[in-house]
């Protein structure tokens, strides 16, 4: 059985329900709970605990290690630069959603220090969505595309 601090909510509720208790309050460093059986009065409450920083939303999704086909993966930026979907302002895009791309196919360029860095895929895939905004800065690890392995 887990220590109190690391129990999941379902287990705590189950224990309370199985018991003959009318009310229960539990506070530990990670959370705080109050239970009261139905019909015991009108009060039902739960209280969060402050502290615990929520993780940042922009956490880059790491590329999946799986080699299975059909798996959805995220392609992230390997450098800091400006993201372009087209080789030139008036040229057509390298890829569009739904395109099938071969291994080594160019999918975008990232401009840094006046250099155009073409990004190639490591594996054959289908473009599922474009995540970065064209002509805007991308940072290291920023998700650019989601793709499906073929």
């Amino acid at each position: 059985m887990d220590s109190i601090e690391h129990m999941d909510l379902a287990s705590v509720i189950a224990l309370f329900e199985e018991s003959s208790l009318g009310e229960m309050e539990l506070t530990c460093s990670r959370y705080s709970l109050k239970f009261k059986r139905q019909g015991e009065g009108s009060y039902v409450a739960s209280a969060p605990v402050a502290g615990q920083k929520t993780p940042k939303a922009e956490k880059p999704v790491a590329e999946s290690k799986s080699e299975e086909s059909g798996v959805i993966e995220t392609i992230t930026s390997p450098i800091v630069g400006t993201f372009y979907l087209t080789p030139a302002p008036d040229a057509p895009a390298y890829v569009q959603v739904g395109d099938l791309v071969e291994e080594g196919g160019i999918i975008c360029t990232i401009e840094a220090m006046k250099m155009m860095n073409q990004l190639q895929t490591d594996f054959p895939c289908e473009i599922v969505s474009v995540l970065a905004k064209p002509e805007e800065m991308v940072e290291f690890g920023q998700p650019l595309f989601t793709v499906r392995r073929r």
Partner: protein, 446 residues
């Protein structure tokens, strides 16, 4: 005019520079590695840009990504902090070529001072005392043997382009010279890409003193007195104080004047430090640190000046508005570095507050002391009328520190500061080892 600064560093120095930017109403942009994404600096900066994975070669030393980030975030200038790229002449040049301001000396100055042989030669031109030794590269074993005879053993071989204790070899007797020379050259090549080494007299237990300077690169150089950084462990400074308890007024004056002379000769721009070794009443030029230093708050407290603000103002082209006469050094300052001895999550963290105490840190309760980078947790700096009170106040401050979850050097620092030796002011760079041996003996005795 600088309106936006990119900070190419991490940890407490990044936070220090962000605070200075905020005080100057300048926008701060911090670059960070994925390991630092939850750091205080990232949360305090006006903008933060991820530049690479934890490994420094791909993040904090990744010149291309850093300069690209600065351009794309429309920064006017880059502050390199301390360490990492702060004394990298190529980086300074690349920054300048990208049309940005490098907050530091001119790249040529950094390049010149990065070569120990060239730096020693410049110091000699200014008539600074240098340790007996070769001002030029050691050509071969014969040259080494005759130079060693001339200056006397023990000698030290140093990589001409080295630093930080790497590529050094101490030789006590002639018979060990050939082997040592071979290894020193190999290490110099491996670490610094240049096999040149030079030879100096090795001082066995000197004091490390340094003079802090500010120069606007437009003719004005002022010094802010010395810092005594003699308490070290494996060449890493632990305690820094100003004024030094061993310096006579006459020696101080000469060292400060020599340092100013050298900076004038160099046409130096920005904040910088001249390091000296001191033995008895002799001092010897060692090197110039062409950047901000970790222990800069010591000089800030005694001078009342803000070195980071000054760096930014000088970089933006402003002349120094103060002269040497305006610099009034007041009281005594002592810095104590609290380092982690293990990495991990700091479950509880409490710093001392109150009068006479300044804390520079980048950590909060629940922060992670990263295993990838240097283990500095906080710098505790006190400012008091004199050394005696400074030691009492530092001990008071240390007694209030609470750090849980990782091991630290807090107890070692308390031991050092409360020791009779440190209290007396008379000790050498071997103080840490000596006290530790004493402590070990005591423990064994029990």
């Amino acid at each position: 005019m600088i309106r936006s600064v990119l900070i190419a560093n991490r940890g407490e120095i990044a936070v220090r520079i962000i605070r200075a930017c905020r005080d100057l109403k300048i926008r701060s942009v911090l670059v960070y590695s994925t390991a630092d994404k939850d750091s205080l600096g990232v949360s305090l900066a006006d903008q933060a840009i991820c530049i690479g994975p934890p490994a420094t070669a791909q993040s904090y030393l990744n010149k291309k990504n850093i300069i690209a980030a600065a351009c794309l975030a429309r920064c006017d200038a880059i502050h390199p902090g301390v360490g990492f790229l702060s004394e990298n002449a190529d980086f300074a040049r690349d920054v300048e070529h990208a049309g940005l301001i490098f907050i530091g000396p001119k790249s040529e100055t950094i390049a010149l001072l990065g070569n120990k042989v060239a730096a020693r030669a410049t110091a000699l031109e200014c008539n600074l005392p240098i340790t007996p030794g070769s001002s030029e590269e050691i050509r071969d074993l014969d040259d080494a043997i005759s130079t060693a005879e001339r200056i006397g053993y023990p000698i030290i071989l140093k990589a001409a382009c080295g630093g930080g204790g790497r590529g050094m070899r101490i030789v006590y007797e002639k018979k060990d010279l050939a082997n040592a020379l071979q290894i020193a050259k190999k290490e110099a090549l491996a670490f610094f890409g240049d096999a040149s080494v030079h030879m100096e007299r090795y001082l066995e237990n000197p004091r490390h003193l340094e003079i802090q300077l500010l120069a606007d690169g437009q003719g004005t150089v002022v010094h802010l007195g010395e810092r005594d950084c003699s308490v070290q462990k494996n060449h890493q400074k632990l305690l820094e104080e100003s004024p030094s308890p061993i310096l006579t007024e006459e020696m101080r004056t000469r060292m400060c004047q020599d340092s100013v002379k050298l900076f004038e000769k160099l046409g130096y721009r920005g904040a910088g430090t001249v390091e000296y070794l001191v033995e008895g009443n002799q001092y010897y030029f060692m090197e110039v640190n062409a950047r901000l230093q970790v222990e800069h708050p010591v000089s800030e407290l005694v001078s009342g000046l803000d070195l980071v603000k000054a760096q930014i103002e000088i970089a933006s082209g402003k002349k120094l508005t103060i002269t040497q006469d305006d610099v009034r050094l007041k009281g005594y300052a002592l810095e104590c570095r609290i380092n982690g001895k293990s990495a991990g999550t700091i479950t509880d963290l409490n710093f001392p507050l109150g009068p006479h105490v300044r804390i520079d840190s980048h950590l909060l309760p629940n922060s992670v002391l990263s295993p990838y980078y240097d283990p500095l947790i906080a710098k505790i700096i006190v400012h008091t009328p004199n050394r005696d009170q400074g030691l009492a106040t530092m001990l008071r401050a240390l007694s209030e520190v609470r750090i849980e979850g990782i091991e630290t050097n807090l107890e070692e620092q308390k031991l050092l500061i409360s020791s009779v030796e440190f209290g007396s002011g008379r000790f050498g760079t071997d103080l840490y080892v000596k006290l530790w041996e004493k402590q070990e003996k005591k423990s064994r005795g029990k």
